[in-house]
């Protein structure tokens, strides 16, 4: 039986291009994993996801951003102007953006509460786009918003399992954004998402003696050994930067 380290060596990686995250994950996200990026507002989830897609597209991997919460135009206006972003990526179709509400309309999903068939139709439609466009990196921002329309835990489980399994089979590495409140326990709104995901990366705010630090921690990642330490995050035009959280000081509250 292969040991854990050999498994790590043998599993192909999706190198995120965010150096510190690749370092934390010993080389990147295992290819095909579905990873929950979980955190409260303003903690850097979307910036991490956008950088993941741009770096992938620059490296020749077709990348897709599914936006649920805000239209693409507004998203691009507000996102950090990364130095490494190249507009040709979108023109060439290497980096694509789809507003999911428009997909709902096309599919005739107009109810607030999706039934079983509509949930399956949505998952299959996303998978079809991934297959047609040969997508290797996908971001769903946010899975929480999609789950709000599915509502039922069993249907959420079915949607995520179907999506995760199919995307993995196609070699597509996915980041699912999970919105939580800073006071919430767990890493997702419904509890199902974190159980099904192959990985969980948590972003948060840590208050220390009146200073508010953005933090990131990899809680779970199947298929690789990884650091579980907390890091401090900075969102810059050069990309997402991380350094280890210093432990010498007294910490007033967790995050």
């Amino acid at each position: 039986m292969p040991n854990k380290e050999r498994d790590d060596d043998e599993r192909e990686r999706c190198v995120t291009g965010i150096d510190a995250i690749d370092h934390i994950l010993n080389g990147g996200i295992p290819r095909g994993n579905t990873v929950l990026i979980s955190g409260s507002v303003g903690t850097g989830k979307t910036s991490i996801c956008i950088e993941f897609l741009i770096r992938g597209a620059l490296d020749g991997e077709n990348s897709l951003y599914l936006s649920v919460t805000e239209p693409t135009e507004k998203l691009l206006e507000n996102v950090i102007p990364f130095d490494f972003f190249d507009e040709r990526l979108t023109k060439q179709g290497k980096l694509q953006f789809i507003d999911l509400p428009k997909t709902y309309e096309k599919l005739g999903i107009d109810k607030e509460d999706m039934d079983f068939d509509q949930t399956r139709l949505l998952a299959d439609t996303i998978v079809q786009v991934v297959e047609d466009q040969k997508i290797r990196r996908l971001v769903l921002d946010s899975v929480t918003s999609v789950c709000y329309r599915i509502k039922d835990q069993e249907r959420i489980r079915d949607f995520l399992l179907r999506l995760g399994t199919e995307l993995s089979a196609k070699g597509c590495t996915s980041l699912l954004v999970s919105e939580i409140r800073s006071s919430d326990e767990g890493y997702s709104q419904w509890g199902v998402e974190e159980a099904i995901a192959d990985g969980v990366i948590v972003t948060g705010n840590l208050e220390r003696r009146g200073d508010l630090l953005r933090t990131l921690q990899v809680v779970k990642m199947r298929g690789t050994t990884h650091s579980r330490a907390k890091y401090v995050l900075d969102l810059t035009t050069s990309g997402v930067l991380l350094v280890p959280l210093l432990k010498g000081g007294s910490v007033a509250t967790g995050g």
């Binding site: 900075d234 810059t236 050069s238 350094v243 280890p244 959280l245 210093l246 010498g248």
Partner: protein, 191 residues
């Protein structure tokens, strides 16, 4: 009036050190601007280094004004200013100054240094920490030692010089121990 001997002394001593050295620079208050001039105008310019100046003592604009008087070009000098924000300084911000909200945000200092270094790949760097005494006012010894240990080792692995200012008048036993722990060399300015 500038002391030519201090300026030359600083530049010569730094030049004699190997790349990636971490240096504790023990100086007196009256040697402050001469030391800066020796490092920036003589040493860094001669070695063509990108300079990251972390100031936790006086606002970056005050140092920049002094550099302008001394006619030291700012092209390759960047400030990580950890003091202007908490002083609620209304001074205009120089395009080469990056603000850290407070000298207690040690991780953010590391992140801003990293940011500047990333902006200039392929160039060797000199990172100046001014000063350990003022950092010690805002941080306890444990977290400050941890910060210095991580920062200095990271810079060493990148081949960058690190110079940590220590004002002799304000040194404590703890500060001296910290400096011994993280630096390869101590330069003590006489006079």
């Amino acid at each position: 009036m500038a002391s030519v001997s201090v300026i030359a002394d600083v530049a010569d001593k730094l030049a004699s050190l190997p790349d990636s050295s971490a240096v504790a620079m023990r100086l007196k208050s009256e040697q402050y601007f001469d030391t800066i001039q020796g490092m920036l105008d003589r040493f860094a310019r001669k070695k063509d280094l990108e300079v990251v100046y972390v100031t936790t003592t006086i606002p970056s604009q005050s140092i920049i004004s002094a550099l302008e008087v001394l006619e030291i070009p700012m092209d390759h000098i960047w400030f990580v200013d950890c003091i202007s924000q908490i002083m609620m300084s209304q001074e205009k911000r120089h395009p080469h100054a990056i603000i850290v909200e407070s000298p207690t945000m040690l991780e953010n200092i590391m992140l801003k240094v990293e940011f500047v270094l990333r902006k200039h790949p392929g160039r060797n760097a000199l990172v100046i920490l001014d000063s350990i005494n003022s950092l010690a006012i805002h941080n306890n010894t444990k977290i400050l030692s941890e910060f210095l240990h991580i920062l200095v080792n990271n810079l060493r692995s990148r081949g960058a010089y690190t110079v940590i200012f220590s004002m002799q008048e304000y040194e404590t036993e703890e500060i001296r121990n910290m400096l011994v722990l993280v630096s390869d060399e101590t330069i003590e300015l006489g006079g």
